[in-house]
Amino acid sequence: MEAIFSIELGLLIVALALHVVVGRGTFAVIVGFVAYGLVLSLAWMGLSAPDVALTEAALGGGVTGTLLLRAHARLRGAKGDQQPVGVFGRAAALLLCGGVSACLIIVVLTLPAPAPTLAPQALSDLAATGLGNAVTAVLMVYRALDTLLEKVVLLLALIAVWSLAVDRNWGDRPMFESGRGTNGPLIFLARALIPLGVMVGIYLFWVGADDPGSAFAGGAMISAMGLLGFFAGVCAVPRVSGAWLRIALVFGIAVFLVIGLVGLAAGSGFLTYPSNFAKPVIVLIEVAMTLSIGVTLAMLVVGPPAEPSQS
């Protein structure tokens, strides 16, 4: 029974992907992509991975969709002929991609029969960390270095986006169009949803210690609320050179690094937590991370600083 549902879900996902890739009309395709993200999160639930489902719904469906819709709105007047790939090019690409898919399907069907897994090892040390959620333990304890480096990658991406500003605008606010302060329903939506959304975001990261949830899903939620505030005009987009913005952006990395170095100084190695005190330390890191991720993701969508005169 569950297999039939999974097959239907798989067919729906493939159909949506085909629409996104070969469909006509960029706006319809972007909306189809948001639907694709949401149906993918259903697939993740079918694969017994609720943490990933939360993150996919928040990031893949919501925030990426916002980014693409804004880009589409600004690229409306683009000229320049799009030279489509010729028939032979398409046939060659079709053969190549069909071959890639076929090889991957063969790999999937011939995976080793007792599947190698790290679940028992992940669970064996779970009690020492004080956490109840194995995925959070992997993210924050076993592979904490990966998480720290990934936060740095996010910050580097934001610096790359900022560096695309015109030189004279460096340090200004990123520009935001769309009738600031005049759209009544949008302002109502912002006032009603932002407090609740921030609370849900905090809850998502807080409950991730023992139940499904993670700092990334919570941070994505908070960034979405920030974006809603920017769109409605109830929050001003911060200046790129603002001190509070920059402190909020590096706060997560700073806390993570300081705790890691304290572990190094205490003699047990970089990013080791004290054995009886692990959970409060992890929660402290996660608080800083959620704040930083929220601010970074929102600023990534908003884009580089621009001239204020283009309203």
């Binding site: 996902i13 493939v14 030279q83 690409a93 991609c97 897994t117 993210l139």
Partner: protein, 111 residues
């Protein structure tokens, strides 16, 4: 046919579809969309492998799941940088194609 195999096959198809779109679509925004479809398929393949590693009371192997969470955030960051480059290119040249504007202008001058 187990759930992991079904989603693994679905993920392989997604990777092929996304790769086709990335190669064939001329408009850069559509290329970014196809790139994200490709990314979603890759992560789903990870998820199928994680599901096969269900043991010791857990529904799936937690290590690939944590890798996928990290990967999703990095993929979003890459998309954001790509979109920012595309928008800046559009602001400078007024067109949104990957054709080299200098070469195109010189071609028109030759005629």
């Amino acid at each position: 046919m187990s759930i992991a195999t079904i989603f693994g096959i679905c993920a392989s198809l997604l990777i092929g579809i996304g790769l086709y779109g990335l190669i064939v679509q001329p408009h850069p925004l559509r290329k970014m969309l196809s790139f994200n479809v490709l990314g979603g398929g890759t992560f789903l393949l990870f998820g199928a492998i994680a599901r096969r590693g269900a043991a010791a009371g857990l529904g799936g192997d937690p290590v690939p799941q944590a890798l996928v969470i990290t990967g999703m955030v990095v993929a979003f960051a890459a998309t954001a940088v790509g979109i920012a480059i595309l928008l800046r290119f559009f602001e400078e040249t007024g067109e949104a194609s990957l054709r080299d504007p200098m070469k195109a202008n010189s071609k028109e001058l030759d005629h």
